[in-house]
């Protein structure tokens, strides 16, 4: 793996190039969230309709495979790339995943981290985790962390740092002993204590890691205290290594992260949007060129960034989710059809929506990279956040027909 920073924005954001697994990827970049290595609804033939190499970064949790398949079988097949028939993709292993493998700090103890999965709760020790990594052979893997929410006591917060550091050393030692491949990203925690965050970041950067995984955000800290915390971390890290963050997924959160110098984002935002029937519609530059202002105003109904295709207003709407969008869904299907598919609970609804949302969000990241290189990232960020606030305020006030989980989470994060 190789990483280099190519451009810095005055607000702190950076654009770089990450070379890994035969791919050359521009950062800031989005890691697509997967269930067992594939996006929830996008089969590999449809995955190839998404832009490359942008869509090549896939995040999975080794814990997805605790049941159903033996590590021996995965190993025999030659690891995850072979097993999934995605030899050109880049797999990033992260034990935590907010859908299928949720960290459970109350059950974690000094010997391992605990996770809630659909097959029950599991306590994962560093040795066990490293066995999974060795069999699955991801391109990048993050070390085990004792992830705690923002509201735990100072004492528990410090305990989590101690454990995370010990597990980091254990993982590194095991990887060395067993000659486990893949680039190691050391996990950094510290809750919402600036000093703890700094301390952890400094300690992790002293270890032999190729990048960093910033953990514990999106767990109860406020939107306002986050930039300071993020900066405390990134300013303690060396410039020349990539930084990944877990838990920041909303567009505003991504922009906050980028501004603080984060390079890689993994999130289940797209999954939650898709399940809730939401399609991203905020204008990106590529689309602006094709669309008149009227059309844009027309799509802005919910909060200016997304529409709910379950809403009855789309029953007879034969327009595309977003005019000018080049994704498979917008090239082939109308809002009316997707609305029907949701009405009758057909799986194709989620397939089409996940394709559109992924395509669109990858476009958002491309836009971010472009603005950093052009030196206009700060303006872009300001404008984006402001326009979204304008739409979100009335929407939150009269609480219209958008009451799905994704939207609630969305508005809550904004109001926080």
């Amino acid at each position: 793996m190789n990483f280099s920073v190519k451009a810095l924005s005055k607000g702190g954001g950076r654009a770089g190039v990450l070379q890994v697994g035969g791919c050359s990827l521009e950062t800031p970049a989005l890691l697509l969230s997967t269930r067992k290595g594939l996006p929830a609804f996008i089969s590999p033939d449809l995955l190839s309709t998404l832009p490359t190499p942008d869509s090549r970064l896939l995040q999975f949790s080794p814990l997805h495979f605790l049941e159903g398949i033996s590590l021996k079988a995965v190993s025999e097949m030659g690891g995850l790339h072979q097993m999934l028939g995605l030899k050109e993709h880049v797999f990033v292993a992260n034990p935590a995943d907010p859908i299928l493998s949720v960290p459970d700090y109350q059950s974690s103890n000094k010997i391992g981290a605990s996770f809630e999965t659909p097959s029950g709760r599991f306590l994962i020790k560093p040795g066990q985790y490293m066995e999974m990594i060795s069999s699955m052979r991801p391109d990048i893997w993050v070390t085990l962390a004792d992830e705690v929410p923002a509201w735990v006591s100072d004492k528990r917060n410090r305990v989590s740092i101690q454990r995370t550091m010990r597990w980091l050393d254990d993982c590194l030692a095991l990887a060395k002993a067993n000659d486990t491949g893949g680039a190691v990203f050391g996990s950094i925690i510290g809750g919402s204590k600036i000093n703890d965050r700094k301390y952890c970041a400094q300690e992790v950067s002293r270890r032999n890691v190729e990048g960093f995984n910033i953990v514990g955000f999106g767990l109860g800290e406020s939107m306002d205290e986050r930039p300071t915390l993020l900066r405390a971390v990134t300013e303690s890290l060396p410039e020349d290594k990539p930084r990944q963050i877990s838990g920041l997924g909303l567009p505003e959160e991504v922009l906050q992260g980028v501004a603080a110098g984060v390079d890689l984002f993994n999130s289940t935002y797209i999954y939650h949007l898709t399940i809730g029937g939401f399609a991203l519609t905020f204008p990106s530059e590529e689309i602006e060129r094709h669309v008149s202002v009227d059309q844009l105003n027309d799509t802005i109904r919910d909060d200016g960034t997304k529409i709910n295709l379950k809403a009855t207003i789309y029953r007879k709407d034969t327009s595309r989710i977003l005019e000018g969008c080049k994704c498979y869904t917008c090239q082939n299907h109308t809002k009316a059809y997707i609305n029907h598919l949701f009405n009758v609970h057909e799986m194709l609804a989620q397939i089409l929506l996940e394709i559109h949302n992924t395509y669109h969000y990858l476009g958002f990241f491309r836009k971010i990279r472009d603005t950093i290189r052009e030196g206009t990232f700060e303006e872009f960020r300001q404008k984006f956040v402001e326009s979204r606030r304008e739409h979100a305020a009335p929407a939150a006030a009269d609480n219209t027909d958008t009451d799905s989980a994704a939207d609630n989470a969305d508005t809550a994060a904004l109001c926080a």
Partner: protein
């Protein structure tokens, strides 16, 4: 009439044809996947084109409820609504009313049923069924028939057959788009050869663009099933397509094609996929089985589909019945299998190698030569010599379904052993 049916090759009763529909030129024999609500569960229309699907079946009953035929019509018809450029067929809606609704009552006027939306009594007449199907706009539409279970006996069968004949005239009269849509009549008459004969003659007199054999695949024994198909195909005109409704299993399709049928539809490949079962030349493979968890082979090593080229049984095993992707990938494989079977039937007939194809198919499915007796009987009538794949001493006289189940069980037990 809005179709052309040209026979390209024959072997005794079996035929391979080119069926030209308003939206697509099809090759028969063909299998039509069921896309009940304007989508095949878990697949995009581009994937269906990729795997060679020619006609999708839509269910009138479901589409009429949601999004309603008026809306489909307003938005330009079902082809446009679901963005499917190839063939579409809609059923009459009668079957779903009888099978899904408890309070359906069939009178001379039509089918009375309780609306699942507001519970009010509603009436579906032959005229209305055709009007709805005219609005949906499929290439082939089906006449409303009086469906009775094949396992029922007595005067009800006769009543249903005569009523189907009376209704066909009302359907023909109501059909407003005969130049865009082909109305197929449905042969009823239960398992009674006399009634079937009266029905076939009555329908043939109406000179319809195509004919369906209805009322089968409802739990009747296999020997009765193939005899009805054989009788109807023999009596139906040579130059019109013949569609066996609700069939079926790969073996049934091979047998019916040998007897001269051209079109089939069934939910089986996609439904069974969602329950974790894959179709393979040997029969079925239950991916949920624990023995699959460390089986690194593809589902079917001889299959060329995207799923078999990329995935192991072990990986599919950890997806099935847990993740949507399990249904998506298995449905893709199963439909690929059915559509490949259709293509193989077509090309083997055209190339004059139909008997070899049938023997090969039976050999893989019954490696011990225990081809069910009903298949042997049907093949004798079809004039296809299958002695090369039958064991000299018939192992059993059981019907095919029992044989299939027995086979798959044996198969999975065998796999457990190889892995233990």
């Amino acid at each position: 009439m809005a179709l052309r049916f040209e026979i390209l090759g024959k072997f005794n009763r079996a035929r391979a044809a080119r069926l030209t529909l308003p939206h697509f030129v099809c090759q028969t024999p063909l299998f039509m996947p069921v896309g009940t609500q304007g989508t095949i569960k878990g697949l995009t229309t581009s994937q269906l084109e990729d795997i060679g699907c020619q006609i999708i079946l839509g269910n009138t009953y479901h589409l009429a409820l949601r999004p309603t035929s008026v809306l489909i019509d307003e938005l330009g018809g079902l082809h446009k609504f679901m963005n499917w450029p190839r063939g579409l067929l809609t059923d009459s809606g009668g079957f779903q009313m009888v099978s899904l609704l408890h309070l359906a009552d069939i009178t001379e006027q039509g089918v009375t049923f309780q609306s699942p939306v507001d519970g009010k009594p509603m009436l579906l007449t032959p005229e209305e069924s055709i009007q709805i199907q005219n609005r949906i706009g499929a290439d082939i539409i089906m006449a409303l028939d009086d469906v009775v279970r094949t396992t029922i006996t007595g005067p009800r069968i006769e009543e249903a057959m005569y009523r189907t004949l009376r209704w066909i005239d009302r359907c023909i009269a109501a059909h407003e788009r005969p130049h865009d849509q082909n109305l197929f009549g449905i042969v009823q008459g239960g398992l009674d050869p006399v009634l079937r004969d009266i029905c076939v003659k009555g329908l043939v007199d109406r000179k319809l663009p195509g004919y369906a054999i209805g009322g089968l695949a409802g739990g009747e024994d296999k020997d009765s099933f193939w005899r009805v198909v054989a009788q109807c195909t023999a009596a139906l005109p040579e130059d019109k397509p013949r569609y066996v409704m609700g069939v079926g299993y790969p073996l049934d399709i091979v047998v019916c094609s040998a007897l001269g049928a051209d079109m089939y539809d069934c939910v089986y490949p996609t439904r069974t996929a969602r329950f974790g079962t894959a179709l393979v030349p040997e029969g079925v493979l239950k991916l949920k089985h624990q023995a699959m968890s460390d089986d690194t082979q593809p589902i079917d090593p001889t299959c060329e589909c995207m799923v078999c080229k990329n995935y192991s049984r072990a990986y599919i095993h950890c997806l099935v019945t847990k993740d949507a992707m399990g249904s998506q990938l298995l449905s893709y494989h199963n439909l690929f299998y059915m559509l490949k079977l259709s293509r193989d039937l077509h090309s083997s007939i055209v190339n004059g190698q139909f008997p070899e194809f049938v023997c090969n198919f039976l050999q893989k499915m019954f490696p011990k030569g225990d081809v069910p007796q009903w298949v042997c009987n049907a093949m004798e009538v079809a004039g296809i010599d299958i002695t090369s794949c039958c064991s000299p001493f018939p192992l059993s006289l059981i019907d095919s379904q029992a044989a299939t189940v027995k086979f798959s069980r044996k198969n999975s037990i065998k796999m457990v052993h190889t892995k233990d």
